[in-house]
Subunit: 335 residues, 2 copies
């Protein structure tokens, strides 16, 4: 395991120390070592926006703390849910009395801990409402969307919800538009290599050289098929063949396209994939309003890529275009 770490059991602690030192212009510590907040949070008069999840997905989740996006994040161990207490403390860190939108991904541990945190918040009189992201098309059939996992589409949900809150939207308005963003979003991943949790020290699954796993999850959850390794253009076609009919995306639609590396795939390769994605979308009369290409939601040192599309309406387009200043996402480097 060729890693730059100290104690494999303390990678999250050590990472957080370095993160806070580097980004002290954006983030602040809180009394809970597993909650980071935007330095200006809670912001008077604004709905608080919170998320949380396991570590190992950098820039997600803490990299999206900042102006017009996330106010506080509950931080879990590598690939593990944050505790209920961490979610609850992140609600408190984000709450200025206008309520809190908790926008997170559909995983059993997160669902359970958010539910407990909601009860704790209720007892303290903090109003919290949730949106659960389920954009990963490959994780369950369309008829069971509620079972699907949340993946990189969460970034679009945070971007839209954070912008709406910054514009002075009410809690119900922030929740409604965040839900609409994720309802309009579909993602799929392709894995080219496994990843290694430092405390485990060996890969937690295998992908044979010369093959690829279509539909893989952010933690190596099995995909829908293993096939021989295809070209970038063929991968783009396969991914769009899965995503486009599911929503469906059709001629005349305007979309956000987000191509994220899974950690160990070079950004050069992501541009090669994106080139074909935009070409196919253009052929189909689907216009890319904004594209993001880079490492936006990773899985430790996994090789591979996710593709996310969000259909925009006028309000979503306006919210996507709102300025944002975070470590993981800025207005630069995209249309």
């Amino acid at each position: 395991m060729q890693r730059i770490i100290n104690n494999p059991n303390e990678v999250v602690e050590d990472m957080l120390k370095g993160f806070v030192k580097t980004h002290c212009d954006i983030v602040d510590k809180t009394d809970n070592s597993r909650v980071l907040k935007y330095k200006n949070a809670p912001i008077e008069g604004k709905v608080g926006v919170v998320t949380g999840g396991g570590s190992g997905h950098k820039p997600a989740f803490i990299g999206y703390i900042g102006k017009n996006m996330i106010d506080a994040v509950a931080i879990g161990e590598i690939f593990s849910s944050p505790t209920a207490k961490a979610f609850y403390d992140s609600f408190k860190a984000a709450n200025s009395g206008n309520g809190v939108a908790c926008l997170y991904g559909n995983y059993a541990g997160d669902n359970m801990n958010v539910k407990m945190a909601l009860e704790m918040a209720k007892m303290e009189g903090i109003e919290v409402k949730t949106v659960v992201a389920n954009d990963d098309v490959a994780s369950a059939p369309k008829t069971e969307r509620e079972k699907r996992r949340g993946v990189a589409g969460e970034i679009i949900m945070w971007k839209v919800g954070g912008a709406k809150a910054a514009q002075g939207g009410s809690l119900d308005e922030v929740i409604e538009v965040s839900q609409r963003a994720i309802d309009n979003t579909r993602s799929v991943g392709i894995g080219l290599s496994p990843c290694t949790i430092p405390a485990v020290g060996k890969p937690n699954f295998t992908i044979e050289e010369g093959t690829m796993e279509v539909g893989i999850g952010h933690h190596g959850e099995p995909g829908i098929k293993v096939s021989e390794l295809k070209t970038a253009d063929e991968m783009a076609e396969s991914m769009l063949d899965i995503i486009l009919p599911d929503y469906p995306f059709v001629e005349g639609d305007e979309v956000v396209a987000l191509v994220s590396g899974l950690g160990a795939t070079s950004v050069m390769e992501l541009y090669i994939l994106y080139n074909k994605v935009e070409e196919i979308l253009t052929e189909k009369g689907i216009k890319v309003h904004k594209s993001y290409v880079g490492n936006y939601f990773t899985s430790l040192d996994m090789m591979g890529v996710t593709l996310t599309l969000t259909k925009l309406d006028d309000e979503l387009k306006e919210l996507i275009d709102v300025e944002v200043d975070t470590m993981g996402l800025t207005q630069f480097g995209s249309k």
Copy 2:
């Protein structure tokens, strides 16, 4: 080779297509397919700022095109110098009649091609002056600094030179401050794995599991020693032991610290390393004015990290703090 590519011999072409599509708000194509320019270049009344180099180092070099930084970039094949014609055409793309600063790294191919491009420019009456980055401490003894390679310190040189040009500095002023920036900069790398050039299909050198190569170059150039794999804290100590005495950096200095991954190392690990770097610097009375932690100058899918320190004076500090909007560098995510 688990890659997202089409024809291995056309990865640069394919990547550039996707890059231009994604970043059409920042970059423009030119008549030379191996030259990209800032969409607003040439900027009336401003000194042009140009760089160039081989591909495979994303975000370097084209990711630093943008407001207040680079006006045009000459693009080479993977790990190969751009042609003299590409450098010359990049001078033309950046030149508004106020001269061009060509700020590039010390490699034989680049030196040769820049020299030829300078002759071509001279014949056309375009005034071009150069600064050659040589920040890689491990690549030659201190007494032979002119032999050292340029590595991630080039980013600091571009940032400073680009800011000075944006402020209306003359060509001589831009050159002087860029030279000062690189003279005040020292870098060192540690490699944990080799990388694979797509057209070759296998690693071009080896690093045994359980070992690390201290002083490795951006293309796998041999380092100064191979040792057993150390902890992140020990790596930080080793790197500073090499960098600090070379300049030297001393108590009371203010610095920029840049930690860049080499491609396949997760950003989480870079924060773990940075945590110790800042701790040691603080103990020594050296203040980090600004830190950058991320993938700023990579080497395809190499695992490993580079550390760069630049000593600041009042002018360099002011120039580092100038706003910048590029794909690779923004003001966010750093102090």
